[in-house]
Symmetry: C2
Subunit: 376 residues, 2 copies
Amino acid sequence: MTEKISRFFRETAPATPCLIVDLDVVADNFTKLNNALPDSRIFYAVKANPAPEILRLLVGLGSSFDTASVNEIQDVLDAGATPDRISYGNTIKKASDIARAYALGIRLYAFDSIEELEKIARHAPGSRVFCRILTSGEGADWPLSRKFGCEPAMAHDLLLQAAGMDVVPYGVSFHVGSQQRDVGQWEQALATTAKIFRDLEEKGVALKMVNLGGGFPTRYLKDVPTSEAYGNAIMDALRKHFGNRIPETIIEPGRGMVGNAGVIHSEVVLISRKSANDEKSWVYLDIGKFGGLAETMDEAIQYPITTEHDGGETQPVIIAGPTCDSADVLYEKSDYRLPVNLRIGDTVAIQATGAYTTTYSAVNFNGFAPLRAYYI
Amino acid sequence: MTEKISRFFRETAPATPCLIVDLDVVADNFTKLNNALPDSRIFYAVKANPAPEILRLLVGLGSSFDTASVNEIQDVLDAGATPDRISYGNTIKKASDIARAYALGIRLYAFDSIEELEKIARHAPGSRVFCRILTSGEGADWPLSRKFGCEPAMAHDLLLQAAGMDVVPYGVSFHVGSQQRDVGQWEQALATTAKIFRDLEEKGVALKMVNLGGGFPTRYLKDVPTSEAYGNAIMDALRKHFGNRIPETIIEPGRGMVGNAGVIHSEVVLISRKSANDEKSWVYLDIGKFGGLAETMDEAIQYPITTEHDGGETQPVIIAGPTCDSADVLYEKSDYRLPVNLRIGDTVAIQATGAYTTTYSAVNFNGFAPLRAYYI
C-alpha cells in the first residue's frame, strides 16, 4: 500500500468495501514494462480495470489497448485513443459486434477458427488478423483452459486461408496464462510461433507480428520475477527462434499493469467459531467472492491481507464474505493467519487488488451494492 | 418453458442474453409449497431473485420473506409487506445494519455465534432470535460449507445465554443445502433440533419455532421429488421427533419458488474446433459464468439447454461464455450434447434459470452489460 492510498483512506474515510487505486503506480508499471521490452508495443488489457481514469492515463503515456467487447472499444476511444491503437482481441465476437468495431475504425482482430475468420473477412474487410494458438499454461496461478486458441497446425492452415480472403494475415498470438510466474514459458510458445512464420513464408505468406499476450504477474503472497527478468527471457527466446529477423511484437499486460496499484479496504463484520474447541476462527469481511474477489475461486489468487495489528501474535483463520451463499468463502485451505487482536469493526487492507475486482463484482447479489472505487 | 414465455420471446424479440420469468409459475410454486406444508409459514428467500414484480406477487399471495441485507429488507417493504413478515436471516450482519433493520421494524433475526447475539441484543433489543445449526449438506448439488451455523452443543449454550439477554430465544434454524434432492435430509437435522428444544425446556427456556430453511429444488437435468414428497417427509420427521407438540415452522424456499419460472435466451456466438480431429465442438454463447450463470461453478448446477433443432442428430460439446476469461467455461466435464444443425446466430434456451442468475451477474466484466430480465 502506498502512502498516497493510506492518506486518502485516513482523510476521506470512505464507506467500505472500497477499492483505492494509486495512478502513480500504474504509470510506474507502464514505464517498467516499456523499459523491459523497449521494442514491444504495449496493449493494455482493458478488462483488468476499465476505469476511465486508468484509460486516460495510459492514453497519455502512449499505450495501445487490447479490448474484449465493443463497449470496451468505446471506452478507450472516449479516453482519447485513436482506433489504430486498439486491438479487438476476443476470439469470440458476434458478427454485429465486428461490424460495429469496424465502423469505429478498428482494423486489428484476433481469431482462432475458420468460422471467426469468415466473420471478420465479411464484416471488417481489409483488416489485419492474428491467430491465437493454444499453450499449456503451466506455471500460471489462474487456470488456463483450452477455451482460446487452436492447435498450431490449424493456425498454420487458417493463416494460409486468410491470405486468400479479404483480410491481411498479420501474425500469431498466444497467452501463457494469467499470473505466470515462470519466465521460461514464453520460449516454448515462441518456438512454435517461429515455425509457423517459417512454414508460411515458404508458401509466400509473410507474417509480421507476434502478440506475446499477457501473463505478467502482480506480487501477491509469493514473490514474482521482475519486469526485467521477463523482458530478458522473452528477448532471449525471440533471438533464439527468430535470429536476426525478429518480428514486430506486442504485449498485453492487464494484471501486471494495475494489480499492485490498488488496495481494497474492508470491514470485519464478524469473528466467530463453530464450536468451543474449533482450531480456526472464521473471519467474515464485508466483501467476498461476489463483491469483487471472484479470483479467490478455488483460492487461485491469494491476496496479502494487512491490518492495524500486524506484528503481534497471529492465529489461523478461515476468511469468508458477507453473503448468504455457502460458496462465498475466500480462503479455507490456504494457511491464512490474522492477528489475535483483530476485532469486529476493524478495517483490513486487501493488497494488490487493482486488477479483476471492480468489474467482476456482482450487480446486486444479496442486495449488496457493487464495489466502489477511487482513482487517485 | 411455458407458452407465455415462448410467445413473449417470439413477439417481442428482445436482445440477448435475457431472462424471461413467467409469474404464473411463481404463483403456482407458492401454492404447491403452501399445500405441501400447510402449517408452515413461507419466507421467500429474496436473494434467489429480488425483482420487484416477484416480491409484489408474493406479498399479494401472503408470503413472508427471508432477507440477507438491509437493501433486501427495503425492497420487500417497498413491495408492500409489513415488517412482521420479514426475517433478517443472514448470520453475518454489521452492527449498523442491525440498527437500521430494527429502525425499519424488523424483529426476527438469525445468529450462530455469541458475537452476533451480542450485536442483536444491543441494536435490536427485545427481538426474537433463532440460532442456526450446522448440517452435513449431503445430497445437495450446490456446495454447503461450514460457513453458516454452529455445532448443536454451542447452539444450546447460546440460546441459554440469550435467555439472560434483551432478546427472545425463539427457535432453531438449519439449511440442508441448496438443490437438496434427498427428502430424508431434514429428518437428521430435526432430530438434533428436537434435542435442543428438550434440553432447553428442562432449563426453563421454551423455544417456539423451527426454521426448516431452503433446499427445495428446481428440476434441472435430473428428476427431483415433488413438493408433496418433501412435505410428507418433513411432516413425518416432525411427528417422529416432536410427537404431538410440533412447534411453529417456517420454510425459506428460493430456488424452489422461482427457479423453474425463468428461461434465459442466448445467442450462439461461435461454434468451432481446436484442431481438425477434435472430438468435441466448442459452442460459445453470449452469456457465461460472469453474466449470470455463476452456478455453473464446478458444473454444480446443470441447466437443460434447448434449441429449435431438438429431435435431430446431436454431438458432444463444450459450452463456454463470451468473455476473455479462461475460467468462463460452463460445461466441459458434463456430457452435454447439442444438435449438429445448431448454427452461429441461433438462439438457445437455458431452462430453469429464474433463480440465482440476474443478481449474480457481473456489473461490467469485459464490458458486457448485466443480464436483462423481463417479468411477465
